[in-house]
Symmetry: C2
Subunit: 457 residues, 2 copies
């Protein structure tokens, strides 16, 4: 929180090119805050700063910068500098930057890295974006299960400077297969002479490297894990995903779901750093699609043109009725989208939830019909009030069932359920609402005296 | 993941009342999974199970149960049993359950707890719901700053069985004020003979006990902390909040925001465990409010009744125009609500974001006007096409500016910005849309030949 006060001294030291003073300041300052400040500094200042400070600080701060800033700064660094930087950074972070480069540059950087780091980089960068493999790190502590607890503690001490976490340790058999796990706390409390395989937790919860990253993040949150081991199809340990990366994944996925639910396309970066043109592009696609969706409502209205000409006052109730269907539908869709998003609701629950929704939406519709009846009676007459009330119940039920079913349908066809956004549900409900209302109204109006009295204004 | 396979053997052991076998099974099984299973079992079975197994397992599994289930099981336990259970549980979890009891029972349980635990419970349960104090734990490792690294490691070893985390250690001066912090990793790597105050990180990031819990969670995520120290106004250390509790807070807050954005009230429990009546109550309030909001649109339409009777075909374009305003407004509101929710957008950014929105919404409106013009020209004539196009630009701009400003306005008045839901924005946009469209249309229609030709159907 004191980084705001630190910035002037950082700027002064940078102006003097006094990197010793800078490193002293950075020893105590949180890298996340420094990165947040420098994300807004001009690129040449940031590059000068990162080139001058100690590699350990540079790697940490660089990891926290936004992707586009990382790429621009990387253009100013030599391949040698990048090879050193990538070696110092956590494997999962460096692989993300590495993957943004052209093949030629990747090749050149790899040639400058030591054998082990090169292998790690090649392996980590080969996993598909969005999978557990793409966010895992290979800097974990693994120990042969036949060693003793005290030997394991020694290994932890040796690995401490490099591993991403030393607080969860994994046991392997001679074929490098994952057979157990222990937390550092359990190791400290265990008998130092005991063999690991006699004290370790052998029922290890692990994930496969091709599992979607949001599922892995959900597992970490469910089990309150510090890290989850990632295995390949032979149950060989290939990496770990840590809780902090899981938190980032959850935040990004939630933002994407939120935006989808508002009919905005998925933004790669934060709102403030997204260009105006990108924002325009992410919004216009859905808006135009929905405009054409609205044409169905227009066609419905055109079909009832005669009725509207005879009974223009009916139009007064149109926004209210189609709006209510859209609102009830948005509510139902929101509940389902979030339920599916947190894993609390499963696609198998659809039928039981449908039953609940049928009941709730019916009672919701009746309540709203009762609420609006005095007004529609005052504005029109008994027939108009009946037509509005019956339409209200029908439209709210149709909207609710549509809103709750759409996320499941989308999921069934492999699409993201959050695409069942409020605006999409509202637009669909509009068309249904127009048809329902004017159909019901035409029954009542023709059944009644022909031209019932409707007062307006 | 193997808990599904474990459940039959758990059930068999429970039927035989073989608690030794049960404890053996639980030694290796993740408590989160066991709790998830027993949350769905009848209360008497769950109580029998929890009463029989070892206290350590009972405390862990009980902590993972949903609040309503915890309360029902607690009714079946004696005050002695609860006092033992609360002593074994993490302080933040037990305080949550404790706070659900009547004052008389709280008193009786406290009398049965040891002095230190009683003090902790009283202190933790006194913090207001929703603050950092209400989710913090007092089971942390703190050490006087004048001790050495090796003495600190000894203290960590002694505290390991009880502390919620031993991986972050806090240094205090003689007045119990927080002066520094070190991770266990840093302790392991430091010179064992060094005094702590010479090697510790002395620029500690901490939070105050009355800070809102979502802000604390955001700090933990921002700094990738394992835990954050909580201090009182004298900078005395009173507790820590750990990353796993932060993840839970983020998930709950996000769900609340999601539901608000869909105009559903905040649900205390998950969707499946919420009763039908509660769901009805959480939805009907907004639906009825919005129905009455829609009456403004109705009044607007009533005002233009004459125009509608003369030009019924204009109604064809009504759902399309008011829908587009609502959609653009929902998009803008979604972007702002999520931006404010993640802390990426600040209330001070309002004016600069308003400028961007003005520009984007203008271009969005023009694009949509162009897209719809051929259709409105074909359906109507040049005047109708002009009226629709001009209305479209105006309505999309009004909707967007309304949608983006509303979250800021709500925030300004101390309300949750997520209350600026899609349905609320749509309903507000509907009224504006009706007024704009018919005003523009009446200018064009009276300016034109009087009764221009509009073909329908």
């Amino acid at each position: 929180m004191n980084t705001i006060e630190l910035m002037p001294s950082i700027r002064r030291a940078l102006a003097r090119r006094d990197f010793t003073a800078l490193n002293d300041i950075l020893d105590d300052a949180p890298a996340a805050d420094i990165a947040e400040r420098f994300a807004r500094e001009p690129d040449d200042i940031s590059t000068l700063f990162l080139k001058g400070i100690a590699l350990k600080h540079c790697a940490e701060i660089f990891s926290y910068l936004p992707a586009d800033k990382q790429l621009r700064i990387a253009q100013e660094l030599s391949d040698d500098e990048l090879a050193r930087l990538f070696t110092e950074m956590d494997g999962d972070d460096s692989a993300d930057v590495f993957n943004m480069f052209e093949p030629v540059r990747r090749e050149s950087i790899l040639r400058r890295m030591a054998h082990k780091e090169r292998e790690d980089m090649l392996r980590l960068s080969s996993y598909e974006e969005g999978t557990a493999g793409s966010i895992m790190t290979s800097e974990y502590v693994s120990i042969n299960e036949r060693l003793t607890v005290s030997e394991a503690l020694n290994k932890v001490r040796q690995t401490a400077p490099d591993a991403e976490t030393i607080y969860q340790v994994y046991m392997l058999d001679d074929q490098q297969r994952l057979t157990g796990t222990m937390s550092l706390r359990q190791l400290i409390l265990a008998d130092p002479l005991a063999r690991l395989d006699s004290v370790m937790i052998s029922d290890v919860v692990s994930a496969s490297s091709d599992m979607p990253q949001e599922d892995v993040a959900r597992m970490i949150s469910h089990y309150d894990f510090l890290a989850i081991p990632i295995v390949n199809h032979d149950n060989k340990l290939v990496g770990i995903v840590t809780y902090d990366d899981a938190m980032d994944v959850v935040e990004k996925e939630t933002t994407d779901d939120f935006h989808r639910a508002g009919s905005v396309g998925v933004l790669e970066q934060g709102l403030s750093s997204t260009s105006l043109f990108t924002l325009y592009r992410k919004r216009i696609v859905w808006l135009v699609l929905l405009v054409f969706g609205s044409l169905f409502s227009g066609a419905g209205i055109a079909h009832f043109q005669g009725l509207i000409e005879a009974q223009a006052a009916l139009v007064i109730f149109l926004p209210l009725l189609i709006g209510s269907g859209g609102n009830a539908g948005s509510q139902a869709a929101t509940l389902m989208v979030r339920g599916l998003g947190t894993g609390e609701v499963n696609i198998r629950d659809w039928t039981s939830l449908l039953g609940r929704e049928l009941l709730i939406s019916c009672v919701l519709g009746i309540t709203m019909a009762v609420a609006i009846s005095p007004i529609s009676y005052a504005r029109g007459n008994f027939d108009v009030a009946c037509a509005v009330a019956i339409s209200m119940v029908a439209i709210v039920m149709v909207g609710s069932l549509l809103g709750m079913s759409l996320p499941f349908l989308l999921n069934r066809f492999g699409l993201d359920p959050a695409t069942a956004s409020g605006p999409l549900v509202s637009t669909l409900c509009d068309s249904c609402g127009v048809l329902v209302f004017f159909s019901v109204a035409s029954m009542f109006i023709s059944a009644a005296t022909g031209t019932p009295h409707v007062s307006c204004g």
